[in-house]
């Protein structure tokens, strides 16, 4: 592998995945096996990188040659130190499920039957318009020319359901629910099917509400999507070093309310981003980003850490922007959150709704990713929500735009949070009350 390089690294991926795609009946049942390998080599601080979808000797040779060709053409990188001379691996729990490793086509078919039966049990008139259930095993290995070598394995399952209620063009609703888990049982397909069905029925008569200012309560995953859009790309060391983060120069400052802690929990049990080591071969760990309102620091991979003469925080990812993509070998590492956790509190979601008295409960938004994490300007279109009236959920709401500045939200407008952490992208968030949002409606 070293062939002509000063130092080199190889990263391999193997994925075995099954999937069933359905609507009112099964549309297709699918399996795919894939392998890939990338070679990253360094010559006089010039980096070359090339990948192939094969582990055969001739293809590896080709990747090495191409990588060398690129290194020779590349500019010297003054910030390059070296590959890690010491890999590390920590014990983590709940990332491999034997059931997923042994999954049969019958398991997939049975699960679809369960979803369809549950939806029709809630109401015969409901139609499943699209759905998929997938599960797979991802194995990675990393090795470098300093004799370091590591392997890891993880399982991942996902379920997505969309259900339509109503039949006239003006009174029709398509609701969606998704769940992602390291465990086959963690998909909870029956609960998911029941939730999406009852919501679709309620949403049929949804209407906008008048414009104004409102207190809001965000369902855990909807708030997680907001945090994902507004924080995950700016709390990384590369964003800070390259002047595209609003958090640069603010470490040690109060940037949020004192109740707010946001920590990257790289070893969370069963976490979607939990791994024995990151994509540089560095053990994952707990990295405080905001603690009691004070900005603690940023997320590092080896390259950005070397630039500042510090240790990596174990946040190297090769799949940024395409979470758990089987193609993770095709990219060079960048820092990214593993499991970014917004600290929950003790109340139940129902208690928070009750305490809010009057406002808007937001279940699902679209377009939140069009918000600007650099200026903090947040806007999202509510595609599914309910009025909160006298502490109880009232009529269904959709088609209104909610907006606020996310930096203001952090500072004292999100101090009431529930105990129900849920995953959304790289984030885990609880149901959260957000005070004082502008609503553009009727």
């Amino acid at each position: 592998m070293k062939k002509g390089f000063d130092e080199a690294e190889a990263f391999t991926t193997r994925i075995v995945r099954s999937e069933v795609i359905y609507r009112d009946k099964i549309e297709a049942t699918k399996t795919n096996d894939g392998v890939g390998l990338s070679v990253r080599g360094v010559l006089d601080r010039r980096i070359g990188f090339f990948s192939v979808s094969s582990l055969e000797h001739k293809d590896i040779e080709y990747a090495v040659d191409q990588s060398l060709k690129i290194a020779k053409a590349n500019r010297e990188d003054p910030n390059w130190r070296s590959f890690t001379r010491k890999f590390g691996r920590v014990q983590v729990e709940g990332v491999v499920d034997r059931k997923i490793e042994q999954l049969s086509p019958k398991n997939l078919v049975d699960e679809v039957r369960l979803v369809l039966d549950t939806v029709h049990e809630v109401d015969e008139s409901l139609e499943v318009t699209r759905g998929y259930i997938s599960a797979g095993v991802l194995s990675n290995a990393i090795a470098n020319s300093y004799g370091c070598r590591l392997e890891r394995k993880e399982t991942l399952a996902a379920s997505w359901i969309s259900v339509k209620a109503g039949s006239t063009p003006d009174e029709k609703e398509v609701s969606h629910e998704v769940s992602v888990s390291r465990q086959w049982k963690g998909l909870k397909n029956e609960t998911l099917a029941r939730a999406v069905s009852s919501r679709a029925l309620k949403m049929v008569h949804a209407k906008p509400i008048p414009s104004g200012k409102l207190n809001t309560v965000w369902r855990n995953d909807a708030f997680g999507n907001i945090v994902d859009s507004m924080l995950t790309r700016t709390i990384t060391a590369d964003a800070v070093q390259e002047n595209r983060s609003p958090w640069a120069g603010k470490v040690g400052q109060l940037v949020a309310g004192e109740t707010v802690s946001i920590v990257d929990e790289g070893r969370m049990i069963g976490g979607i981003g939990t791994r024995h080591f990151d994509d540089d071969g560095v053990p994952q760990k707990r990295v405080p980003v905001i603690e009691k309102g004070i900005l603690q620091g940023f997320l590092y991979d080896c390259y950005t850490a070397n630039k500042e003469n510090r240790q990596s925080s174990g946040n190297a990812h090769r799949d940024v922007g395409s979470f758990s993509s089987p193609l993770n070998y095709m990219k060079t590492p960048s820092p990214y959150p593993n499991n970014l956790v917004v600290k929950p509190q003790r109340a139940s979601p129902e208690e928070i709704i009750k305490e809010t008295r009057n406002g808007l409960y937001i279940v699902e938004t679209i377009g939140e990713w069009l918000s600007d994490p650099i200026s903090g300007e947040l806007s999202a279109t509510v595609s599914s929500g309910f009025l909160i009236e006298n502490g109880e959920l009232g009529r269904a709401v959709k088609g209104v735009i909610v907006s606020a500045n996310f930096f203001d939200i952090l500072k004292g407008k999100m101090d009431l949070r529930a105990n129900d952490l849920e995953n959304a992208g790289a984030v885990y968030a609880p149901t959260t009350q957000v005070l004082d949002m502008a609503v553009a409606g009727e």
Binding site: I21, K25, I26, A28, T29, K30, T31, N32, D33, G34, V35, G36, S38, I47, F49, F50, S51, V52, S53, S54, I70, A73, N74, R75, D77, P105, V109, V112, R113, E127, T129, R130, K164, P169, E173, V174, K213, N243, R244, P246, L327, K331, T332, I366, G367, W369, L370, I374, S375, E377, S379, T381, S383, K398, G399, I401, S403, A404, A438, A440
Partner: protein
Amino acid sequence: MEELLQYLTDRATDLGAKYADTRFQEVKQTLISAENGSLRRYESDRSSGVGIRVLVDNSWGIASSTELGKAVLRQKVAEAVRLAKAARKLAACIGLAKVKPLEATFELPVKIDPDDIPPEEKVRILTEANKSAVTGSEIKNSFSRLGFLHDIRMFVSSEGSKIKTDITTCGFSQTSVATANGTMERVPEQRSQCAGYEFIKAGDWDGFAREVSQLASKAVVAPIPTPGTYPAILDPELIGLFLHEALGHAAEGDLVVTKESVLEGRLGESIASEFVTVYDDGMVGNGYVVPMDDEGVAKTKTSIIEHGRLNGFLLSRDTAKELGFPPTGNARAQSYEHKPIVRMTNVYMQPGNHSFDELLKGIDFGFYVRGRGTLGGQVDVGGGTFTFRAGPSYLIEKGELKHMVRSVTLAGRVLETLKTIDAVGKDFAVTTSVFGGCGKDGQMAKVGDGGPHVRLRKLTIGGRAD
């Protein structure tokens, strides 16, 4: 390879499939990025694989592998058949619309293969352009990319279709972040074309990158418009994005079949003003080139709206059968491993006969909404509501362009908005991107879109809500 695909297809029918197709794909990609004057990443790859799709009774089974050995793939055929059988009781494919078997090869003419250009030259062009974008101290970040994609696909079906396509795409992208008075503004922009390296060679990328930075510098000090409903002119880039998101998705046959689409049941109805004619076309302007789809069907020029009336949907073979129309060649898969699903190719509006000045003259107070620097958009296909984030745009007063405005969000209901179009320009542009694509059901597809400049009587424009 064609022989291997034929062998696998025959093997599938021997095992009981009433229809089978096999797809081979080889992709070569290179993505080079530079930031703040330094080369950041040079990532290059070559990947390939084979996917097998079989129909047993009414049940589809799909299996794929990156390993290309005959023995491995033979096993994959058996696996696809086994999967189809396992799901047989709960499966419900009503079959495929009939098509004539097609034997065709389409190779996009390329003057210079990007692979023949030494990495040194690509690095030089990119870093020089990246540096030239640092036009002043207010530019805090300059990020540039060069992208190359070479996508080769082969298709063999048990009905006798044999197809090969070979498409090369190149592009340059620039994102500049400017700051002023504590505000940061980010402007992303790109240019791509299905062509060889000659496209990169002919471009003035230093100038292009500089212009993006100048736009960011101007935008960061521009005011945010007061939210409200205004007359507006959309440029070709933005009308393309609008038609793609707001209309194109709703015209996808699979969403019509499930009655999710806002266009379901409206065929022949007037859904837009009489000036609106919209097509989906696999071969147009500087769009993405799609001569045939991934079911081996030739992509036709599909009319979606004809003078305001809903005229047709985009169809795969199964949705065509279900809706009772001929397929339109819109079944596309991200790669050999994905199931072909209904996708757009290049959706655009047909030009009219107005000059840009004539469009402007009709507006007393409104906005010229531009796509350059747009962040994209999203639409709720069922409800028919859309949201877009436009690039830096301009105020129009008494028929004249005035100052720039930033953070322009557009929102509205698709069908209402299409009816307010009162004039269509005579210019025309369709563009694509080597960097991005359209996401649906977990698959990405390369698409293009565009049209002329278009005037709307009423468009909801949101700036800052408070």
